[in-house]
Assembly symmetry: D2
Homo-oligomer: 359 residues x 4
C-alpha cells in the first residue's frame, strides 16, 4: 500500500494526471528545523534537465499544509501537496486496450479493473516520487542535526560507467553540478552523450545510482526482518524502474573468498573502523560505523518513441503501438535525489526506532 | 523486529545456542493441507551436506505446537519449535572483546550491550532460517493449491557460474538431487570442487541463488510500497549473508536500451504473455503473469579458519584472531531452500492481500 | 500515530488553526461509487447547529485531490482536504503557560516541547474529525453495496436519557432530523433544553452516542487482538472527549447472571438469530449476524466560560483562567456522524480483511 | 490477528486443547531483570481458586525458550510455552452442530469452516491469556525499573460492588490476599458468597475489574489514533468476556457538567497535579501525570450448567443443550492479573515509543 516506515511513516497520494500528488510524513519529532525553501530546493533537483529530460514542464511548487510552523516541525503530521499543471491525458485511453510494454498498464488493468486511472500511469507514475523527495528533505534535515549526511550520484548511465573510487566529500560537492548527476565533469560529458544518442534513436538507457551515507552511528537497524539493508532495499524497489539493489561489494562479493571479503577491524584514532568496506557499512543488518554504500539499478525508461509489439486486449490479438507523449530518455539523473530522499527516510525511521533521536 | 508479513505474518524467536529456534505463522487460512512430514522434509533440505557443509550435527526435529490438526490448518496461528541439540558455546565469549570480521558481533554489542547473547551469533545466526523454512512449507502448500510453484537453485558458487537458461521444470526436478543444489550434474561437480578447494584453504566462497516462481496470477503486489519486488527484496535481505537482489535482467538491464529491455506482449493460446522476460515477471510492482525471476547474492561465509585482524575492544588495539568452531565453507547450497521458503511466504502473503485466496 | 486501519487505512493530517485539515484513505477497492456531493453532505452533518453549537463558522468545503474519478474510486489512495477559514488563534498563546483543565495542553507541552502547535488545540482538536467523516462517507458507500448500514443517535445528553428500545429503521430515519441527533422529537426537545441550560450557565454537558450496524455478515473480526470490538473501541477512544465504550448490555452485563445474559440462538426464517442481543452482535470478537450495538460515552466539553483553577507553569504557582473562544456547550450532537464514520471505517477495514469484499 | 503492540509486540499462539499455549514478546530492550520464578508467580495468580474456580487443574508451568539469559533479557524475542495437561476434548464435537450461546462457536464455524479447532473454544479460549500474563510479567518488571507500578482488583462481582475510593497502595497490598481479588476482606467475603450462590444455581456472574497505574510519566500515548486510552481499550477488549471499558469518571462523566468534570490543576510540592482525577490520568490521549484509572466490564461466564436454547445447524431447527465441562462460575477474580498484564504490555509499548526507555 501507500505507506512506508514505522516510527516515521510516509504516505503517498495522488496520480500523474489528477489534481496533484502529495504525501504525509508522520512521526517526525518536533523541533526539526526546516523551511519551505529547503524543501522546494530538493524537489527542484528532481526536475528534468533541458535537453536530456522530458518536455513535460511541471512547476512542482510544494505546498506545506500541516506540521511545520515558523521553520520548525511541530510534532504533528507534515503534509505536502504539489499540483499537476502540465498534464496531457489525451493519449492514454488507448492503453486500456493496448497496454504499453515495460509499463504497469496490463497488470494494473487486471488488478483494478476499468476504474483504474490510466492517465500518465496513474498511481504507478514516477511522478509519485516528487512528494517523496519533499518528505526526504525533512528526513535529511533531521539527520544532519546528528551529523548524518547522504550523497548519491550516477555511477553508470547506459554503457558509461564511473569506475573510480570516490570520497564522500567529492561526491557530495559535485553531484548536483552536472545535469547527469555524475560525480565528475568528464564522466558527466560522456553520460550526457550516451543519453542524447539514445534520445536521437527514439530509445532510452538505464543506469546505476550509487548512494553513500556518512556519519551513521553504529547499531542502526532492527533485526531480524527490519534490518538496515532490508528496509533500504524495500524502499528502493518501490521507486519505479528499479530492478536491482546491492550493498558494498554486493553481487561482486559472490566471486570473492571470505578471507578477501571480510573487512578487518582496525583502531584508527581510538575508533573502531574497518580497513576495507566490502560490507558497505552493514554487518548482521546493523550499521557498523563505516559509510553505508548502496547501489540501485534502474532499467532503461519503458516509454520509447519506437514502434513496439503489444496486444489488443479486446480482440485478443497482437498489434503494434507507438507511444506518444513526453518522456525522459534516461531517468537516472532525476532519480539521484529520489534515492537520497528514500535513503534519508529509511535511515531517519530506523534511527528513531533505535533511540538515536529523542522524541 | 522479528515479524514480517501483513495478512500472513511470520514471527521468529530463539537463538543459535539457546533452548531452540522457532516461529509463529499467523493468518494462514484454515483448511490448507499440510503434514508434519512435509514440513520436516523441507527443513531437512536445509541441513548441511556431508563434506561440503558444517560439522555441527543438528537433528532439527520440528515440533508443531499450534494451528495444525489432522493434516490441515485450523485458522489459528501455527507454531514451530526446533530444539538446539549440538551447540557448543565455549568458544564465543572471547568475541565480546575481539569481534569477528564479517559478523554482527561488533554492532550487536554496541546495540544490545553486555546482555547480548553472543553464543553462535545469537539472534543473528543463520540458524534462525530453520523455522523460516518450516513456515515456508505451509506457504508452499497453500500456493500449490492455486497452481503456484517455486524452484530455486545455485546459479553460481564462487567462480563457477551456470550461464545456461533453464526451464522451470528442469530446475524443479533437479535442484535437490545435488548437495550443491545445482540444476545440472556437471555444474554440480564443478561447484563441489569450488567449495572443497575453499574449505581446504580454511577459506569460504559465496554465490548466487536464482529463484523462479511459476503459475503466479496477474496483479500480485500492493503498490506503491508493498510491491511484489519490494516485499521480496526486504525478505531476502533479512536472510543472513545476502548482499544483493535483482529481478529479471536486473543489474544487466542498466546497460540495455529500452527497445531491447521492454518485453513485447504477445497472445499465446489466447493468453497474454511476453516474448522475453527481462522484467522478471514484474511490471509496476505487480506480477504480470510471466515467471517471477529473482537472483539473490550471498557473500562468502564470514567464518573462516584463517587468521584475521580484528580489534581488542577493551584495550582499544589491533589484534589477530582465529575463529574456531564448525562452519560451512559455502552457505549457498543450504540457502536454496531458504530462498524458496522466503519467496513462498511473501507470495502467499501478497496473494492473500490481493484476494487470490479466500479466508 | 495518525494512521489507523489495516487493509483500509486512514491517515489524518492538519491542525485546528493551520492551513487546513485532511486525510488519506488508502486500500479502498476500485469501483466504489461515491460523489463529492455525498461526501460533502456527510461532512455538513458534523457542523454545529445554530443555537446549540459553537459560533466558529467553518464552511468545511471538502476538496478531493486523489483517488476518485468520474464518481468512482480508482483504487489509488483517496485524499481529502478541508481548508481552515475562520480560525482565531489570538487567545491560545497564553495556554502555553496556563494550560486549560480538561484539555491536552499540559501533557502536549511536556511531550512536544515549545514547538507544539497550541492554536485551537493543534493536532488534538476535535476538528481533526472532519476529514475522518469525509473518509467515513466512502466507507459507508462501500458497505452499502453489501447491505451493511450504520445509524447512530444521541442516547443521552446530560441528564436526559432516551431509555426506549428503538428499531434500526426508526433511528436511521430520524437521527438527522433533529439538531440534537435524538431519535425522537420529544426527546430532542428535552435534550435541546439541557444543552441550552448548560450554555446559559457558561457550562457544558456530555452524553452517550449509541450506534447500531445492520446487515453485518457473520464472522467479521480478526481474533485474538483485532477483534471487532477491540478495533471499534480503539477507533472510538481516538475521538476527542470519549471516556467509555461498551457493547450490547455492556457495563450492565456485569450485574446479570449468565443464564440471563446469554442470547439463546433461534432459527427465524431459516436464519440463525438470537432471541435477545445482550452481546451487541459480537461473540468471541466476531460479528454474529445480529445488529452491532455500541455505546460511546462523551465527557462534557472541556472548554467552558467559567473561571477555573489552573497552574502557571513558569512561576510554578496556582492561578485562575477564563477560557475565551467559541466552543460547543455539548459535543454529542456533532459526534453522532463522527461515530458513524468511525464505525464505518473499522467495519469496512475488517470486512476487507475477512474477504467480504473483493479487491 | 494474534499480534498486538508496536515497539514491543506480543504474539499469541496455541489453543485450549492442543499441545499448549504460548507467546512471543518482541522488542523488549536488553538488560531487563526478570527470572523464570517471577514469571511463574504471575501466571500462578491466574489459576482458579479452589471452590470459586473451574475444576480444570492445569499446572501451567511456563517454559522460557528464548530471550532471557542469566536473569536478564538479551534483546532477542522472548518466548513462553505452557503445555496443556488436563484438557478433556470429548464434549466439544457436539458444539459443531449445536453452538453454545454466549460463545464464539457459531461465528467461528462460519468464519473458519470445518477445520476450526472447536475443542475448549480453540483459539478463542480464555486460556490464551495465560501466555499473555507471562509476557506481562516482563513488561511489569521493565516498568518497575522506571517507578511505574500497576494494581488491579475486583471492584464488583455480580451485585456486590466495592464503592469505596481506595488508594493505590491499599489495592496493591491487598489484591492478591483474597481469592476473589477484592481490595478488602469484608468485600471479599461478600463477593465469594455471590460467586458460590451463582455456582450453586448452575449459573454464573460477571463483574468489573478496576486497574490503577501509578508513577506514569507525563506524555505517554501517540495521538491521534495510538492514544493511551485507545491502545488500552483495544487490548482490554481482546480479553475474552470483556464488554465495556471506561476511564476515570467514564460513563458517569456523561451526566456531569464540564465545571464539575474538569480536573483543576494544582502545584503540589512543586509538581503539576490535579485536584480530582475524573480524567483517569489521561488528557488528549496522553498520560497527564495522575494515576491511570481504568475499569473493565466482564460479562458473566458464558458456560453455565443450565439448559439453554440453541439451534441445530444441520437440521436448521431449535434445540436445547446442556453444556458439560469444567468452568468458572465467575471469571473476574482470574481476570485481575490478566488486566494488569494487559495494561503493563500497552504501557511498556507506548513508553518505548515515547522514548521513556532507552533501547
Amino acid at each position: 500500500m501507500n505507506t512506508i516506515g514505522f516510527a516515521m511513516r510516509l504516505t503517498l497520494f495522488g496520480s500523474s494526471h489528477g489534481p496533484g500528488v502529495g504525501s504525509v510524513l508522520d512521526g517526525c519529532p518536533s523541533g526539526v528545523p526546516i523551511t519551505t525553501e529547503t524543501i522546494q530546493r530538493e524537489v527542484d533537483l528532481r526536475k528534468p534537465a533541458p535537453g536530456i529530460g522530458t518536455a513535460r514542464a511541471e512547476e512542482d511548487i510544494v505546498q506545506v499544509q500541516s506540521g511545520i510552523l515558523e521553520g520548525r516541525t511541530t510534532g504533528a503530521p507534515i503534509q505536502f501537496f504539489i499540483a499537476n499543471k502540465d498534464s496531457d491525458s489525451s493519449k492514454y485511453q488507448a492503453f486500456r486496450v493496448t497496454p504499453r510494454p515495460g509499463h504497469a498498464d496490463y497488470p494494473a488493468l487486471v488488478k483494478y479493473g476499468p476504474d483504474h486511472d490510466m492517465r500518465g500511469g496513474g498511481q504507478f507514475s514516477g511522478r509519485m516520487t516528487a512528494p517523496l523527495v519533499a518528505a526526504g528533505a525533512v528526513a535529511k534535515s533531521m539527520l544532519v542535526t546528528k551529523g548524518v549526511r547522504i550523497a548519491a550520484y550516477s555511477q553508470s548511465i547506459g554503457k558509461v560507467t564511473d569506475d573510480k573510487e570516490r570520497s564522500f566529500s567529492e561526491i557530495s560537492e559535485n553531484r548536483f553540478n552536472h545535469s547527469t548527476r555524475a560525480a565528475d565533469s568528464r564522466v558527466a560529458a560522456r553520460m550526457e552523450r550516451e543519453i542524447l544518442a539514445a534520445a536521437k534513436d527514439g530509445d532510452s538507457v538505464g543506469g546505476i545510482v550509487r548512494c553513500l551515507v556518512d556519519g551513521l552511528p553504529v547499531g542502526v537497524g532492527e533485526p531480524f526482518f527490519d534490518s538496515l539493508d532490508a528496509e533500504l532495499a524495500k524502499m528502493m524497489f518501490a521507486i519505479p524502474a528499479v530492478k536491482g539493489v546491492d550493498f558494498g561489494a554486493g553481487f561482486r562479493s559472490t566471486k570473492m573468498r571470505g578471507s578477501e571479503h571480510n573487512d578487518p577491524f582496525k583502531i584508527v584514532n581510538g575508533q573502531v573502523t574497518t580497513v576495507t568496506n566490502h560490507a558497505g557499512g552493514i554487518l548482521g543488518g546493523l550499521s557498523d560505523g563505516m559509510p553505508l554504500d548502496l547501489r540501485v539499478a534502474f532499467k532503461p525508461t519503458a516509454s520509447i518513441a519506437k514502434e513496439q509489439w503489444t496486444v489488443d486486449l479486446k480482440r485478443k490479438k497482437d498489434t503494434i503501438i507507438k507511444v506518444q507523449g513526453r518522456h525522459d530518455p534516461c531517468i537516472v539523473p532525476r532519480a539521484v535525489v529520489v534515492v537520497e530522499a528514500a535513503a534519508a527516510l529509511v535511515i531517519a525511521d530506523l534511527s528513531l526506532r533505535g533511540g538515536f533521536f529523542a522524541r
